[in-house]
């Protein structure tokens, strides 16, 4: 079952493994670069992207300020159309809610479209534990599921899998050889998934947004699988992060102008759809039951904190695609769900800092993420704040805290400062053997300290 918490050493270990994988590294470089170029070109097409970003930020923050009211309006609309809204405080509650809905429907096969919220709450394991079969129908997620892994990019889950690897995975299902040509892989996946889509009892989707005024959820995809999942199975369950509400359709339109452009460089994705409730009387398609499971899981506690801007995130992945660290470390380093800068901020906030202490430091603070964020979340500044909290909440080791206190006593006083730089010159030959010096010199030389400092020359 997915747990957002992760041990302190995970980042470095996973990053090391990723760096050793040359083909995977090339895939990370290539995919992130392509998505970044696409975003920049798509942003360029807009008459005034800065103004649009500011408007999007304003919409997101205004909604978050008044989330209770928007959620209650959304609930009223959904219920008026015959759907149900289940507000869940924790991941556990959310899992239980979906399990209960599926069991009540007598489900044996649950088909899913891409949903990071589902990964966050560890839904697949919970359904499987109750004896149900769960199949991911988003191509990337399907590949990841067959590989027994986790998504390594929120938009491109199977970012580093190559065609031959995918062919091998499909062969296991097919029971026959599969050619690693892209066209053929697409055909095989379509065939394997068509049967699932046709026979699933329950369709589980995410929700990119939920519109309060109409009680609709908005699904932004490129493969069309979500459209089938919201109409073919008898029951549709949409997983909605609590913060993804939008008051009106007009405001949704503003966010949609930015979402696909920022994620994949498309103006709109191939399928951007609004789903509003179960099939009405006399309607031939649409599910019999429509459930929205609203996931809090730590979100509402952020509303009153300096981290509230993180709730503005629309999960486009633009920050991930520009992050130099992600590009090298790979997505797994951040844990099984969210990765890159948005993951480095969000995971410690949701899982609590002491359960993900390495993530705020998994950044060189270069600020590329903040520059790329379509809703203007100051990601690198939030990382800086999290680092401060790590120190103040004493998650940071006593040794490090003591070292910085001593350093600050010395480097804040001119006399001691000068003395320390003199001593450093004599001490520099020991540097490669202690703590940070050892980490530094494992791959780099130390700049030799000059015999005469600038101040000695004047």
């Amino acid at each position: 079952m997915t747990d957002l918490a992760q041990p302190p050493d995970r980042f470095r270990e996973e990053a090391r493994a990723q760096l050793a994988d040359e083909r995977g590294s090339a895939a990370y470089d290539g995919v992130t670069q392509r998505l970044r170029t696409g975003r920049l070109a798509a942003w360029d097409e807009l008459p005034d992207v800065e103004k649009l970003r500011e408007r999007a930020y304003e919409i997101r923050m205004r909604t978050i300020d008044d989330l209770d009211r928007h959620l209650s309006a959304f609930r009223d609309q959904v219920e008026a159309r015959g759907g149900q809204v289940h507000v869940c405080g924790t991941a556990e509650e959310a899992r239980a809610a979906v399990v209960q809905i599926a069991q009540a429907a007598g489900a044996t096969l649950v088909a899913k479209s891409k949903s990071m919220a589902s990964e966050e709450i560890g839904l697949n394991g919970a359904l499987e534990a109750e004896g149900m079969q769960v199949v991911e129908t988003d191509l990337g997620e399907y590949i990841v599921q067959l590989a027994g892994g986790h998504p390594e990019h929120i938009i491109v889950p199977a970012i580093r899998q190559t065609a031959p690897e995918v062919a091998k995975l499909f062969e296991q299902v097919e029971g026959a050889p599969v050619s690693p040509e892209l066209q053929e892989l697409g055909n095989v996946a379509r065939r394997q998934l068509a049967e699932v889509l046709r026979t699933a009892d329950v369709g589980v989707t995410g929700a990119n947004f939920a519109v309060s005024e109409t009680g609709s959820i908005c699904l932004v995809t490129n493969e069309g699988n979500a459209g089938l999942l919201t109409s073919v199975p008898r029951v549709h369950v949409a997983l909605l992060g609590l913060e993804r509400l939008v008051p009106t359709l007009d405001e949704l339109a503003v966010l949609l102008q930015l979402l696909a452009r920022s994620a994949t460089g498309q103006r709109l994705t191939a399928y951007t759809r609004l789903v509003s409730g179960p099939a009405g009387p006399g309607e031939t398609d649409g599910p019999e039951e429509f459930h929205v499971v609203v996931i809090d899981n730590g979100r509402s506690r952020l509303r009153e904190t300096r981290y509230r801007e993180m709730l503005a995130c629309i999960r486009c992945g633009a920050c991930i695609n520009v992050c130099p660290v992600y590009r090298k470390s790979g997505g797994s380093a951040y844990g099984p769900v969210y990765s890159g800068p948005m993951g480095a901020v969000l995971v410690p906030l949701l899982a609590r800092l002491e359960h993900a202490p390495s993530l705020p430091h998994a950044s060189s603070l270069c600020g590329a993420c903040t520059e790329a964020c379509p809703v203007k979340i100051p990601l690198h500044e939030l990382l800086l704040e999290l680092r401060k909290d790590l120190v103040e909440e004493r998650v940071t080791s006593g040794r490090e805290r003591l070292a910085f206190v001593l350093w600050s006593f010395v480097w804040s006083r001119p006399l001691l400062y000068r003395l320390s730089t003199t001593l450093a010159r004599f001490g520099q030959r020991f540097a490669p053997h202690v703590g940070p010096g050892r980490a530094w010199t494992s791959g780099r030389a130390l700049v030799p300290l000059a015999r005469r400092r600038f101040r000695d020359r004047r």
């Binding site: 130099p324 401060k388 790590l390 120190v391 910085f404 206190v405 600050s408 780099r444």
Partner: protein, 215 residues
């Protein structure tokens, strides 16, 4: 750490007709602690900085990230009015300072310091100055990418940090020198180049301008 670069910065400023004062009581601005989350330690050091530098004269700093720290974070951190601080190349460019023609025929790659680029918005001045010194700029592939230094990041995640430096050094292949205006980036790129690309000089901007890239 790089006394020659400071001396070179001073000579550029003097040659441009400015009188340079060097407050001998100066200490660090506190950036290392600030970026690592140690606010109390950062505050203590930042106050030391503020004791040495008043608000009377403009401060010129041959380091993009130190200038960004003083400009963006220090006033709020220690509750002082903003300092008039300039990154060296921004100061020289803003005052149309002439630079010696010491890089004629040289191909120079310039690496942007992330803080200088994104927090101070200084991208053109160093490039213009290098061109004014007679050099030809070789634009790095993906100049937006960090060199991997990131202060304590470089020792917390040394593998990723070094991999980023490798990309940066590879991007500079074909240049006569890799030039940067930030001692953090310089420390990182010089340190890695010393191990893997000893034939590529990695220089501070002030040095490249004041003395030219060596032959």
């Amino acid at each position: 750490m790089f006394p020659d670069a400071v001396a070179d910065a001073e000579s550029l400023l003097s040659e441009a007709g400015f009188e340079v004062e060097f407050p001998r009581a100066q200490v660090c601005c506190g950036q290392p602690a600030f970026n690592a989350g140690h606010r109390t330690a950062a505050r203590r050091v930042a106050r030391g900085f503020a004791r040495a530098f008043g608000h009377e004269l403009p401060i010129v700093c041959p380091s993009g990230s130190c200038a960004a720290m003083v400009a963006q974070h220090l006033p709020a951190l220690i509750e002082r009015p903003p300092f008039e601080i300039w990154e060296l190349s921004a100061f020289l460019a803003a005052h149309d300072s002439p630079v010696p023609k010491r890089n004629v025929g040289r191909r120079l790659a310039y690496h942007d310091s992330c803080h200088m680029l994104r927090e101070l918005g200084v991208a053109d001045p160093p490039r213009k100055l290098l061109e004014a010194s007679g050099g030809t700029l070789v634009e790095l592939v993906r100049p937006d990418l960090c060199c991997g230094f990131g202060g304590t990041f470089s020792v917390r995640q040394p593998e990723v940090s070094v991999a980023l430096a490798d990309d940066k050094l590879a991007a500079a292949t074909g240049a006569d020198a890799l030039v940067t205006a930030d001692p953090g980036c310089l420390f990182q790129l010089w340190g890695r180049a010393a191990r893997t690309a000893p034939s590529l000089p990695v220089l501070h901007l002030a040095t490249a301008l004041a003395r030219g890239v060596g032959t």
